[in-house]
Structure formats: structure tokens, C-alpha cells
Symmetry: C2
Subunit: 413 residues, 2 copies
């Protein structure tokens, strides 16, 4: 590989995942291995931090392989994150001049940005500006999101681990419900406002003895109260314990988020936004009258590093390395992607794709992977998702809790 004279800069943006630091490690490892750059700089709190000149020399922090290994399975962004929408170059040319001046000062030849849809928008804008103004900076996007909603790439780093957490939790919740000899309905709310990939992963909890979740509702479908109640009643004639997986973004018949349809008001009389699960719980209580409870799977979906998927972590390392390789090949304005080569045995390779077709787009669960009755996913989805949650990493523990990297380290220096 050709050595690029100069440095590179890497940043993380958007919501946390369990694998985003593995991708950062992938970049670091590949640079160290190939000596592609002199120094790897990390921007703190993404592009927003960069504008405040907040960056560190990462090569100094992760000199040892031991530290980089520990970083691989450390949840949430080691570099910090931001939710900053980069204005267009027309709106704010100064912002761009400022960014590229900082890059020049640091002798940055490649700008790696790890993130989701919004971050790819930043990659697109910066790469166009660099090209138009002849700045010798390559800009490369690296995907990351538990939502798995980026187009082109077969799946996204971070999704497999979140899906493994969801599937494992659903199985454990099933164990919890099976112990009493009485009817119960448990509704589990899973993250995903517009794409149902993570909620669909609840189906991976099924095994030789566990058929639940019994119903799965994705944001891709509209949920009719009457049909829903009929479905639950029908299931109750067959078994005692019903488990329902519902996406936080599931919509009602009118196309609005179900979570906006609650009628509860707070002490000021303001309408309260209930979760989707709470709405279904109320429907069951009102229309069937049986016991129902909601379980809201929370931020641990994206932060439970202790149960990450080995496939996800290994691929996240690979895609980080692939971004460095792409840079060495002179690529800019593209995102590195997974391309699935085969399913048995499962195998992916890293390709690149124009970020233009990825930024601000959203990949939903295809209609043909949702069953006709709209309350489950098909075997095709299972075949697609199963390999992504397979394998377990050996996580170091200290004093009974995971021994992650100090996530606050960079913010303290």
C-alpha cells in the first residue's frame, strides 16, 4: 500500500452503538499496520468539536494492542458525539473555510467520519466542497447505526450487537413470563422510529421451545386496533402467555405515530406522549380486560457492550480497516459498505459506494419480509439477520463489572 504523506482525522457522530469503537480501532489498527499516515487525530464531539479545535493525537493514546483490544468492545463513542447538522456551503461558506483551515493546520489528508444518515450528509457536503475548491483532502464515510437503515450496505455496524441484545432479552423475558400458570400479555417496546430492523430482530429469540414473540409490529405497517385485539384474542385461545414486540415508531390507521395517540394528561393538563407499548397495553386492558404489562427496552439496546455480537465487532474492525484501504486507493466522497457474498457460509466483503445515494436516505424493512397479516417477519428476514448476531466476544471484567475503556478520558484532558 502507498504511504500517504501527512495525517488523518477520524470522528464519531450520532447515537451510540456497541461497535462504533471497534470501527475506530479498525482505522487505528490498519494505519499502524500499513504506516499509511504519520498520525491519526481524533476529533472530539464530531464536526461540532472540530469547529472548536477540539482534537487529540490518537496514536499516543492507543499505542498498545491491549488498549485497542479493550476499546473494541467499549460501548458509546470514545471520541464523543454530536447532533450537529452542517449547514450547506451556500448558507455558511465560513464554516467550510474554517474546517478546511483546521485540516490544513493539522496536515490532514483524509477525513474519516463514522456515523449514520446525518453524518453521511456531512461527508457528502465536505467532499463536494473539497473537490470544488481543490482542497487535497479525501472524505470517507464509515457507517454506524443500530437502526440498520442505511441504503446500499448489506447492514450497518452496530446493528448486529443491538439485535443480539434484543433477541436475548426477548428470550429472557419469555422465561420470565412462563413461570405462572395464568394468562398474561407482555408488550416489549423496541427502538426504531421509522425502520423496523431492530424490532424485527425480536424474531431471533425463537428457538426449539420458545415461539414468542407471538406478534411483531414494525413502523413499516399501520396498526388497526380492531385487528390487533382480534389477533390477541385468537392467540389467547391457544396459549397462556402472549409476548408482543412493538417498535416505538409503529403507526396507527391514520398514519400517525401510535405513541402520539394516548389521551393521558399531566398535572398541567398537557397531553402526555405515551410509548407505543403503553398504548397497546391500554387497548388490551380496555377491549379484553386481561392483565397486560409493558417492558420498554431502553438505551441498553445500543450500549450493552457485554453482550455484543462477535460478528458485528469483527466486521466493524474490518470496515474501519477498509476505509483506510479505500483512502490509499485515492477514493473520496464515498462510504464503505458491507456486501454479502454468501449466506452459507456467511461471508461479506468491503466495497465503497457514492455517499450521494446514501446521505439522508432511509432503508426500511422490505414489504416482502413482512408476513401478509402484517404481524410478523418472514423466514427470509431470519436468514438475513441470524448471522449478524452470531458469536460472542470475551469481555474483560473487573470487580464484577465490565472493564471498558475510560469513556470520559478525552473529555478530561
Amino acid at each position: 500500500m502507498q504511504k500517504i504523506v501527512g495525517n488523518c482525522l477520524v470522528g464519531q457522530s450520532g447515537g451510540p452503538t456497541v461497535a462504533i469503537n471497534a470501527t475506530l480501532c479498525g482505522v487505528l489498527n490498519r494505519v499502524i499496520e500499513t504506516e499509511a499516515y504519520d498520525t491519526v487525530y481524533g476529533m472530539l464531539n464530531g464536526i461540532e468539536g472540530l469547529l472548536q479545535k477540539k482534537f487529540v493525537n490518537l496514536s499516543e493514546f492507543f499505542e498498545t494492542e491491549e488498549e485497542r483490544t479493550r476499546l473494541q468492545t467499549t460501548p458509546a463513542m470514545y471520541l464523543g458525539s454530536c447532533r450537529y447538522k452542517l449547514p450547506s456551503a451556500d448558507e455558511s461558506p465560513d464554516t467550510y473555510t474554517q474546517i478546511f483551515e483546521i485540516l490544513k493546520e493539522l496536515d490532514i489528508k483524509t477525513f474519516f467520519y463514522i456515523g449514520g444518515n446525518d453524518s453521511m450528509d456531512t461527508v457528502l457536503k465536505l467532499s463536494i466542497f473539497a473537490e470544488e475548491h481543490n482542497y487535497p483532502v479525501q472524505v470517507i464515510g464509515i457507517p454506524k447505526t443500530i437502526d440498520n437503515d442505511l441504503p446500499i450496505t448489506d447492514h450497518t455496524p452496530g446493528y448486529g450487537s443491538a439485535a443480539k441484545y434484543v433477541a436475548t432479552s426477548l428470550l429472557e423475558i419469555a422465561h420470565d413470563t412462563y413461570i405462572y400458570d395464568m394468562p398474561s400479555v407482555t408488550i416489549v417496546e423496541i427502538m426504531g422510529r421509522n425502520a423496523g430492523w431492530l424490532t424485527a430482530a425480536a424474531a431471533l429469540a425463537r428457538n426449539s421451545y420458545n415461539a414468542s414473540p407471538d406478534l411483531i409490529y414494525l413502523p413499516e405497517v399501520s396498526l388497526c386496533r380492531k385487528t390487533f385485539i382480534e389477533d390477541v384474542k385468537k392467540l389467547q385461545t391457544q396459549r397462556q402467555n402472549i409476548i408482543i414486540a412493538v417498535s416505538e415508531g409503529v403507526k396507527g390507521e391514520n398514519g400517525d405515530y401510535l405513541s402520539a395517540s394516548g389521551t393521558a394528561v399531566d398535572s398541567f393538563g398537557h397531553k402526555m406522549l405515551s410509548g407505543a407499548a403503553t398504548v397497546l397495553e391500554d387497548w388490551i386492558k380496555e377491549d379484553i380486560g386481561c392483565k397486560a404489562r409493558s417492558v420498554i427496552l431502553n438505551v441498553l439496546q445500543r450500549s450493552a457492550g457485554h453482550i455484543c455480537s462477535a460478528t458485528d465487532i469483527k466486521e466493524s474492525l474490518m470496515i474501519g480497516a477498509g476505509a483506510v484501504d479505500a483512502a490509499a486507493n485515492g477514493i473520496t466522497g464515498k462510504m464503505v459498505c458491507y456486501k454479502r457474498i454468501s449466506n452459507t457460509p456467511y461471508k461479506v466483503e468491503i466495497i465503497t459506494s457514492d455517499v450521494d445515494g446514501i446521505a439522508n436516505a432511509e432503508k426500511k424493512v422490505p414489504a416482502e419480509w413482512i408476513t401478509k397479516n402484517q404481524s410478523d417477519v418472514t423466514q427470509d428476514f431470519i436468514d438475513y439477520a441470524r448471522p449478524l448476531i452470531e458469536g460472542e466476544m470475551s469481555i474483560a471484567f473487573k470487580d464484577g463489572i465490565p472493564a471498558y475503556c475510560n469513556i470520559k478520558h478525552l473529555q478530561q484532558i
Copy 2:
């Protein structure tokens, strides 16, 4: 050890834990090892199932050590559970006659009952009845509860694993909150209606870089809104991200559950019972006006077998074995307990104690383990709890999810 001619019967009762099947295994292993009984019967759905003559020959199901090993870390009751309050012998002598007739039919010499406070009440009543009516049946209680609220025993089987889940989750939630460079308050609600042991375990999430949770509120204290808001405001002058651990059973100044104080009403105008975390979230929004969110740790606290504590599982095996040994020594009407011999190195032994002093009693977190300002626990608590969450089990996985024992098996035969 003396062989008892006849059989034994074991049951599980109350809420699930991750370690309750390890205790069942401990009984099974010890019986197999010592040939103490001819057959180990299991009652399905506790004493309630026994009254319906629902029992199985467990020796047949767990012939292989491999199956028993898998059972050790299978969450929730393999035998099923019940929430049945045994009436007193005065109220319903027939119930007792019926039970002891079934025991006679099965040639049961020892009745082992694994459970919490209510189950120990059953042990107490049955042992007294057996003694008074000269039934040759020993009745022995084996503790189980994530609440850790049983007296005499140093701690309860199941608590260590739940505490490990809570501590790990709090650390991972801290990672999740640290990524943004903006103020946030996260309130984590933890199980425990009257005793704060599990909420206190949130303190075990602290490590060299993580000082959170910043505030811990147990049901043992009364929470004053004014002091609470002052505490939060003071912390906000020192750091960006505040994490608060609160027990579901925390009480307000009037001594009522805080969760009952919400003013929200549902679509019928009925008062809604918000969780304690939601009440604190509302206080922060109303009195400080900053962003706050609640995370309700749910049933996974008692069911997340994949992150069980090795100390807890090993001790649960040991206490199950200890119950068999106690029976061989002619003991009845007692509960097996952990007695802590030393803390460094950590070491416990199994003793027995009259169930009379345990049934229907509740052990709370002692006042001297709660800090003076009532919003944290002391180092003494940490020293007590730390060893209980230490060590990790190697959990088998299949297809990306834990390979537990078929929890529905017995209910399907």
C-alpha cells in the same frame, strides 16, 4: 452420610431469579452424589400445583451432568412458580391433610421449598403441622429472592446476579450519557418495593472513571422534593451528566410510595400510577426545567441469565447441596442460610436457622449503610456487596442467543 429410605420433593415459588435453578441443581447433584434418596420429585407451580397432584420425577429429566450444568444458568423457575398463600391449619385443615396424603403416596421423606418470605411461611406452617401430627416428613426452606430481604442469611441466592445486572447496566447507561457535550439528567428505576438492596447495588457501577450514579434513593428513606431539587442543582454546577438510581418503592415525605403521587389521568379520568422515576423526571422538568429522561430497568433484572454472577451461581449450588445435608442430619422447620466467615478473602459457609424467625419478616438496608444526606450508600455497603457480583459464568450460546434449558418442558408433558 446416612441414606434416607424414600424420596424427596422439591418446589420453587415466588418471583423468578437467575440462580433459582442452580439451587435446584444443587439439590439434585447432592442427592445423586450421596444417594441420599431414591428419587427426587419436582412439584410443578409450587404448593399450588402439588395440591393438583402436578409433579414429575426429576431424576429422569436430569440424568446427565451436561443437562444439569445447562440448568444452572437457566433463568426463572424450571418447575414453574405460584403466588399461593397457604391458609393456616385452623382455617383449612383439609388442605393440610390433602398435602400430607400426597406426600405419603409418593413416599416423600423431605420437602424442600425454594423461595422468598411467603415461601418460608409455607415451610413454617407445613413443618409445624407435620410435627404436631407426627407425619414423618422433614420440611426445609431454601432462600431465593433478588430483593435480598430475608433475615439471618448474609444474603440471598439470586441477589448477586441481579445486582451484577444492575451495576453493569448503570455503567453502560453512564457510557451512553457521556457522549454528548450537554447537560442531562437520567433517572434509572430499579426493583425493590420495601428494601433497597438492589437499588443500592447501582453504587457498584462506580469505577476509576465513572462516579455515577450521583444520587441513590432507597425505599428506606423519605424523599423531600425540595432537598432533591437542591441536590440535583448542586451536582449540575459540577458536571454535565447526572445519573440518579431510584428504587421503585421510594417514599415521599408523607411516607406514601412516590409512585402513587403522580397526577396524570388516563382516558377515563382514572389516576395513573406513574413509576417513581417518572415522578422525579416531572419534578426536574417542573422545578429545574432541564432535559430529563427515565430508564425503567425491567424484568431483565431477575431474568438476565447471560450476565449472572459466578459467585451467586456457585453459592446457589452450594446452598441446595447444604439443604440435602441438613435433611440427612435430621433437621426440619429450618431454612439454610449463608454465613459470611470472612470478607478478604470472601468466604461463606452454610448454616441453618429456624424458619420461624425468617418467614414474613423483611430485612432492610441498615441505616448505618445509608449516607447522612440519605442520597447514597456507604463504603460498608460496597464492601458487603462487591464479592456477591464477582465472577462470570461461561454461558453456552446457540444461533446467537443463550442456550438455556427448555423452560416450558415440564408444562408440555
